[in-house]
Symmetry: C2
Subunit: 258 residues, 2 copies
């Protein structure tokens, strides 16, 4: 792909508040949440989606940052004492453990707002693209919360609903906004949405395997990883641009289980 | 103004999730947070700003709903046990008191996402307007969190900074997005931003008076209510549209103290 991981990091650094901005706690905590350790899978999907429709990855740099900011806010709120109560994230104290619970709630709020603000900075090569990007980004941002509410509910949970929303919605947001930023038409955007839907499910079933906790059973989960990965790759057929990165990403994610 | 309060309520009802949507808890809690009791000052500012630049209030209906959803999310999170720990809001249980703390965090998150999604539904009468609206809405959405982080900080607080961001930013967001949706040019949008800035400060000083707790002293706060209200009304000079509603709103807010 035309944009490297260090370039993604540099772009994230540029959209996050400068250290001189106030309040200093908020700036430091927002950077703490975003910097250090993320694999940046969603921004990579976003950038590669722009290339897959024949556009330039650079056109999708702002949506790529936006989706990572959004993903980061969900992790900050997931870790809260009232939610998963995780004091660690990626080997360092989680935001609430380091900056306090109230600040962590607000840091998540600010990261979500900054995600949308960042999305607005996408160069609009075709009229109407931003409205479509924003509609999709907003819908999936609501969707990821729907998945999380179901996940923390008492009683019997709808696991497919949780996977679809908590995981696949962010992947779809990345792919759809990237394809739109790259100038994709409706049919091309839909192919990328479908790719990301299946990839998100494959990713989630694989996470279950890696965690040693598959609600649907180990064999079913292992089979789903493969069928969803195949479906993801198949969805890319007929796209006008370079899909090599997305195919290799899908295969790499499967390899995590071996 | 051409759009009545019941019409604002109907528009909010239409953008909130239907009762059949899942998870049911999220839908019910989002409606609980938004419905019943709000004075809808910010949506009214937004709609009237569109009229003040010579546009139609109807063009600003989506931003008007978006700003109320955003305002509602800030109240849901402000009330949380880790923040103000308020079990009541507008005479009924606050969202966390009724639906639990974890759900309240998520309800706020979903309301913020829905606010941005709603903004995307604004009819774009001029190319580039949505990007400007989104940039402003995003900036002020970050700003309101900056104000809140300063407000909950330990030690000496910068009270003007808190007022400017926690209160005035939402008023400015309403006025700027409304003016943009109404087709205002840069100079007109700036007049409305300035109106909202001063009105927001007047509103906040007056809240201090009504609460009987003015950090700057009662006399100073009472004087500021008047000077800020005057400055707000003066900022409207030279606008091409109907500013009567905004002037009367500013005067009505002052009258709250008498």
């Amino acid at each position: 792909m035309a944009i490297s991981l260090p370039e993604i990091e540099a772009a994230l650094d540029a959209v996050l508040p400068r250290s001189g901005e106030r309040p200093a706690t908020l700036c430091a905590a927002m950077r703490w949440a975003v910097e250090g350790g993320g694999k940046r899978i969603r921004p990579q999907i976003c950038l590669a989606a722009a290339e897959a429709v024949g556009g330039a990855a650079a056109d999708a740099l702002m949506p790529a940052c936006a989706i990572e900011l959004l993903h980061s806010y969900t992790l900050v709120h997931d870790d809260l004492p009232a939610m998963d109560n995780d004091a660690e994230r990626r080997g360092k104290p989680s935001v609430w453990a380091k900056f306090g619970e109230a600040n962590a709630i607000l840091v998540g709020d600010a990261l979500q707002a900054l995600a949308f603000e960042t999305l607005a900075r996408t160069p609009e090569n075709r009229p109407g693209t931003l409205a479509k990007m924003l509609a999709a980004f907003g819908k999936y941002a609501v969707g990821v919360v729907r998945g999380q509410v179901e996940d923390i509910a008492d009683g019997k949970k709808d696991v497919p609903f949780i996977y679809e929303h908590k995981t696949a919605d962010l992947f779809m947001s990345a792919a759809v906004t990237g394809a739109l930023a790259g100038g994709g038409d409706d049919a091309e955007v839909e192919k990328l949405r479908l790719f990301a839907y299946h990839l998100g499910l494959a990713f989630q079933y694989e996470d279950d395997l890696l965690d040693g906790d598959a609600p649907c059973g180990f064999d079913v989960a292992a089979a789903r990883v493969r069928t969803e990965t195949d479906a993801a790759i198949a969805a890319l057929n007929g796209l006008p641009g370079d899909t090599e990165f997305l195919v290799s990403l899908a295969k790499r994610l499967v390899d995590r289980t071996r």
